[in-house]
Structure formats: C-alpha cells, structure tokens
C-alpha cells in the first residue's frame, strides 16, 4: 500500500468523517497541513483573523447545524489563543475538534520557537486531548476524537500534531467501527426510572418542566418530543439560557427563562412547584439562586447524560442518566401506552396567570430615546417570519435578547452561557452563516463586547457572508455598570466605554454597510434598511445609557427575592453578597 504523509492522512480522515468546513489560521507548525489543504477541494477552509474567533465560529457552526465544528491552528500562540473558545465549548457542551500544530517531536520540551505545552494547557478545558507522535495512529485518533466530541455529553477535543508527524508517512487505514476501551456514554434511560417519573408527573398538582441545552444538543427530535410531552401533560415549561427555542416562545405553556434574569412567573413557579423535572439542564448557580431556598416544596427529577451533573449543586429525588431525547421519547411513549388522561392543572395555571399578570418584562418608552428592550422587540417583530439565527455577545444585551426575542425553534439561539465569553457573537454568527447560507443571522451585541473580536468583520467581508450586527450601544459595559449601581453605590469603576470608535465608519472601512440610529421614530426604518441590504450590515443603535436589566435575582438571593424595578434597588450589599459571582 502506498503511504501518505501525516498531513494527507489528516485531510483524508476529516473528509471521510464528512467535514465540510474548517475554521483556521496558518502558521509555521501547520504548514504541511495547509499545503495538503491547498491540494484538495473537498474541505473548505475559512480564514479567520484571530484563533479565538476560529473556535467561536466553529461553535456557531456546530450549534446551528448539529454537526461538530472543526478548528485548525498553529502551535504556541495559535493554540493558546484558542483556549478561550475551547473552554467556552466545554462549558456549553458544544461538539468541537481542534487540531493544533506542534513543534517537531525532537524539539518538544526545549522551549523551541512557538512551542507551548498544548496538551498540558488544554487538559482541563477539553473533554479529552491527544498528542499524536506516530502518523500511523493519526487516522484512528482523529476518528476517536470526533466520536468523543460528538457522543455522550458533547465537548471540545484537541489533537496536537507535531510538525514531523505531519510530514512523516504511513499507510492510511480505513475506519472500522469505533469501540472505545473505556468511554461508554449512557444514552438510554432505565425503564424502571421512566415508570417512576411518569407516575410522579401524572400525580403532580404543580409540575414544572425545567429544560436546558441538553435538549438542543440531543437534536431537533428532542424538541419535538418535549412539545409532545407538554401537549399530553399540560405542564408549564421554563428553560435555561441554553435551552431557549426547544419549546416555542409562543406556546401557552411557556413561562419564559428562569434564574437570575428569568421571568417572575418562571421563578415563582419553580418556588411553588411540587414537582420539578429537569431535562438536560444542570442547576447552574445562575438558575438556582440561593440554594437553601431553591424550590423548597418540590420533588426533583434530573434527566442528564452526565452523571457528574446529578447532585452537584442540588440534591434530587430521582436521577435519570440518559440522553434528553431518549428520555423524553420513553416518557411520551409510556404516557400514551398507559393512556393517562391530561391532568387537571387549572388551579396551578390560575396561580401562574396571577404571576404573569405582573408583566415583569414590561418597560416604558422614554420619548425619542430608544429603550434597549424596545430595540430587541423591534428586531424581533421585523424578522420573526424569517426564523433568524440570533447570536449574542455577553452582558445586558444578551439578557435582553433572551427575554424579549421569541425563539420558536431549536438551534436558532447561539450564546455563550457557561463561560460568558465577550466576543463570542460575531465569530459565532460567521460560523452559523456558513452552516446555514440562506438563513438570516444577526449578532445582537453590545458596544464593549463587539470590540473583543471586531477584527472578524474582515472574515465576513472576505467570504461575502451577509451577517448582521445589531449593537445596543449604551456606552457602558452595561452589566458591570448595573452591578456597580446595585452593589457599590454607583461607583462606576472602569465600566464606561471610553474612546469608542465611530462604528459606522469602522464598518465601512471593512467593506460593510454601517447604519446609525438614535431616535425611536427611526428605529423601524433602520432595521428595515439593515434587512434590505444583501451584504453584511452593522447597526450602531444608540440606546438609553443607564437602563437596567430586570427582573433580577441578586447573587445569593432566593427566587422570591426578585427585583422587578429600579426603585426596589438598594445601594450597597453586604460582604457575603459581594463575594458571590
């Protein structure tokens, strides 16, 4: 058999795995791979402007298509720049394979030029990682990496390939069935436990389904099954930030997001529920608030694919280790087989309607000033018929988008939830647009976050991607400022966005269309202009500077201690509260 170089083996293996797009940036230690890429046409390489953006673009691609995102970067700074996005993918369970070049085997450990201990650095921010020292093992390693990245709880996997291994030759072996020695994710639920959860759901008087990103990760069928379960049981549904879109926001059973910036009705329902079924969500601190006051009356069921998520933050009564979709399918099927009638939850819904009446997301327009909530709603109204893919950066604009933009389908909402990475939105939008060429993709951004990966304007321009950026520009790192207002008597330490660029001129300098809007009466027209342009557009939307994102549960407070309006806010918190994130 003729032998191939390690670089060719890599490309061959990626092609066999169905990889269509690779996000990357070349450098010395990956030159052989870039040469192999040059000589083929099956894999498309997208040149980003910074390696961090390559990882977020891969995340956006993965989250919006369900396929793994693939990244290719060089050794040393290429790898270290990718670390933020790798960690982001770990916390949000995004399937991603990152290929990093490494200095030649003989130079490893000598502090060679552009050498970094990539497997050491990424050991704890990946699901798994590899250093490949033999080209004969490369193809199998790549296949195993994809298997690990995409199965069980998805996550990022790094493959570090020294330059000499890219050049050395070996025979290319065809893929056999993957049977890993130790890694066996459990995806099918124990039927006895499904019996129990269905019993509990049928008997509950005040049930809440608390869903999360696990349903999105499981695939579109899981969202369908959730809808079916909700139709059968009439149970109210709330979701984490990562799970938005699994149930349509227009569904009557939808309570809105829960947690720190969740709705009044969702958080009160959690507090008063007698049964909480968590599906693909992980009782994150942003969701639970003060743990000893979290859902005090509820029996808790936790369906999760990762056993370590169970009983980590909250003790549950019934853990079910399974893929969210498989568990939902089993529940729906058992509910039907048994012929359970739809439970009478009218008393429970009457109470929920009472909380809904608080209209916790309501806000008042202030003359010609654009309220950020109004801007999001205008964007939603103008685009909802196109089912856009929305990405965000991190901060107030992200929470407002989660609260005021209605998501009707899964895989349409891409945001950095666990790690909270500013600079995520623009590259993620680029990745999503590449995976969904005909979709409308909008990055809802803040003027501070957008500057963290602003260089990617060039990437969108190069590949003629009609991505839209909608900046809610309030001249502050708004969430930092809001916390300073609430906990540090408005001492705005370093949170003012000083020396902002002229975003319209900046957009134009990169070949984008730029639009500025600062009057409410111009808002709708500006959004229409943005949508009418078939290329990339950046909108600098000047919004009210000091608006706060409410409702808000202060760090370490109970769900019932929600702040609804600015006038309920006290000036300084005690040390216990200050110490919480």
């Amino acid at each position: 058999m003729t032998e191939k170089s390690g670089a060719d083996i890599l490309i061959e293996a990626l092609t066999d795995l169905g990889v269509e797009v690779v996000f990357g940036y070349p450098g010395g230690a990956v030159l052989p791979i870039y040469d192999a890429l040059f000589k083929q046409e099956r894999i498309r390489h997208i040149l980003v402007r910074h390696e961090q953006a390559a990882t977020h673009a891969a995340e956006g691609y993965a989250r919006s298509t369900g396929k793994p995102g693939v990244v290719l970067v060089t050794s040393g700074p290429g790898a270290t720049n990718a670390v933020t996005g790798i960690t982001d993918a770990l916390l949000d369970s995004i399937p991603m394979v990152v290929i990093t070049g490494q200095v030649p085997t003989a130079l490893i450990g000598t502090d060679a030029f552009q050498e970094a201990d990539t497997v050491g650095i990424t050991r704890h921010c990946t699901k798994h990682n590899y250093l490949v020292k033999d080209p004969a093992k490369l193809a199998d390693t790549v296949r195993e990496a994809f298997y690990i990245a995409t199965s069980g709880r998805p996550g990022p996997v790094v493959i570090d390939i020294p330059k000499d291994v890219q050049v050395a030759t070996a025979a290319y072996t065809q893929a056999g069935p993957i049977q890993h020695k130790t890694y066996r994710p459990q995806t099918e639920p124990d039927p006895a436990l499904i019996e129990q959860v269905v019993d509990m759901l049928a008997a509950a008087e005040r049930p809440v389904l608390y869903t999360g990103g696990g349903i999105i990760n499981s695939g579109p069928e899981a969202s369908q099954l959730l809808r079916e379960l909700v139709a059968l049981t009439g149970a109210p549904v709330t979701s984490t930030l990562m799970g938005l879109g699994a149930l349509p926001a227009s569904a009557p059973q939808w309570l809105g997001m829960l947690g720190m910036h969740g709705t009044y009705e969702a958080n009160w329902a959690m507090n008063k529920a007698d049964l909480i079924i968590a599906v693909g969500s992980r009782f994150d601190d942003r969701v639970t608030g003060r743990l000893d006051a979290f859902a005090p009356h509820a029996r808790k069921v936790h369906i999760d694919i990762d056993r370590s998520s169970v009983n980590k933050n909250v003790r549950v009564d019934l853990p079910i280790i399974a893929d969210a979709g498989s568990a939902l399918r089993a529940m729906v099927s058992l509910w039907k087989t048994r012929g359970h009638p739809k439970p009478d939850l009218s008393e429970w819904w009457r109470r929920i309607e009472g909380w809904r009446a608080a209209d916790c997301l309501g806000f008042e327009d202030r003359g010609e000033v654009i309220m950020p909530q109004r801007a999001i709603r205008a964007l939603y109204e103008a685009t909802k018929h196109r089912q856009p893919i929305i990405t965000t950066e991190v901060g107030q604009h992200q929470m407002w988008a989660a609260q005021h933009f209605g998501f009707e389908a899964p895989n349409k909402w891409l945001t950095s939830g666990g790690l909270g990475t500013m600079g995520y939105g623009l590259p993620a939008a680029i990745g999503a647009q590449l995976g969904n060429p005909d979709a409308l993709v909008i990055d809802i951004a803040g003027e501070a976050s957008i500057q963290m990966n602003i260089q990617e304007l060039a990437t969108a321009a190069q590949y003629r991607l009609p991505v839209k950026i909608f900046i809610l520009n309030n001249e502050y790192m708004g969430m930092v400022r809001q916390w300073q207002e609430l906990t540090y008597q408005s001492r705005y330490s370093q949170s003012y966005s000083e020396s902002l660029p002229d975003f319209v001129m900046l957009a134009e300098a990169y070949g984008w269309k730029g639009i500025r809007v600062d009057r409410l009466s111009d808002l709708a027209v500006s959004v229409d202009q943005m949508l009418a342009h078939d290329g990339p557009v950046l909108v600098d939307c000047r919004v009210a500077k000091l608006a706060n994102c409410f409702p808000m549960i202060p760090s370490g407070a109970a769900h019932t201690d929600m702040i609804l309006q600015a006038n309920e806010v006290s000036g300084e918190m005690d040390d216990e509260a200050k110490a919480l994130v």
């Binding site: 497997v119 050491g120 050991r123 704890h124 699901k127 798994h128 250093l131 690990i148 890993h180 020695k181 130790t182 890694y183 990762d306 056993r307 370590s308 169970v310 009983n311 980590k312 003790r315 040390d575 216990e576 110490a579």
Partner: protein, 171 residues
Amino acid sequence: MHIKQETRERHTLAVIVDNEPGILARIAGLFTARGYNIESLTVTDITEDEAVSRITIVTSASAHVMEQIIAQLERLVPVHKVTDLTALGPHVERELALVKVAGTGDHRIEALRLAEVYRARVVDATIASFVFEVTGGSDKIDKFVELMREVGLVEVARTGIVAISRGREPA
C-alpha cells in the same frame, strides 16, 4: 466575612485507568481544579502489557463532595472504573516506608529493639546507621517514625497508601 469550611471524611479510592501519557496529570489536575484534596496518591501499572494502571487515592471530603469526586473521575475518558473502598466496607490499606536512622551506643540498640517490635527489617546497615523497611497501616508507620525521631531519625521515604478490598471478589 470569613471563609467557611465543611466537615470532611477520609476515603480511599481505587481508580483503574488506561495507562496513557498524561493520565496522572489529568487526575491530579481534576483534584486541584475542582478544589478537592489529595492526602495520598500511588500509581503503577498492574497488567502484563502495562496497559492498565491502578491509582490509589486517599482524599477527604464531605459525603456530597465525595459523590462528585467519583462522578468526575468516572467522566474522564481513560478511566475504566472507580471504587470507593471506604464506602465498600472492609478493606486492607498498607504503606511501605524506608526509614534512615543514625546513631551509636544505646540509641543504636534501642532503634533495633523498636524495629523488632514494629517488625521493621534492616535493609542497609553501616557502623553508624540503619535503613529500616517497615510496612503497615499509616498509623503504625507514623508511630514508628515518631519513635525513631528519639533515637536519631535522618530521613523517611514513604510510598503512600495502597489498598484492596477483603474477600474473594474484586472491588
């Protein structure tokens, strides 16, 4: 404000892993990253082809954190199996120590006498020193080392704890 501490309980874990590069760093790093505590850790391969290693970890944690430690270890891709020997019940824990003692006259005689009581073997001797090999539970070794301090302890090397369940079945 002061930082609060939880009450902890000592557990001995047997972790069976694929003997691949970096596995020890992966496990040690998991403990530091998640704020768990390692009191002792031993590792060596246990199969003929050196493909599988057994790691014995002594840790202390609250019951809730203990459950997390096991789940987090099992989540690592190269981990075959984690057994909490303490929770399982009766098991044997042993440690080996090499103890160097220097001295002359009465001290030398007393050191030998104590070594006999503790069933420590002399594995090296000079006119002015001994190296004792002693095995047993950690308490026994602690006591032996403490006594040797009185008669001229120079240095100690300890292996850390290895442990195995009692009875016929593997843990």
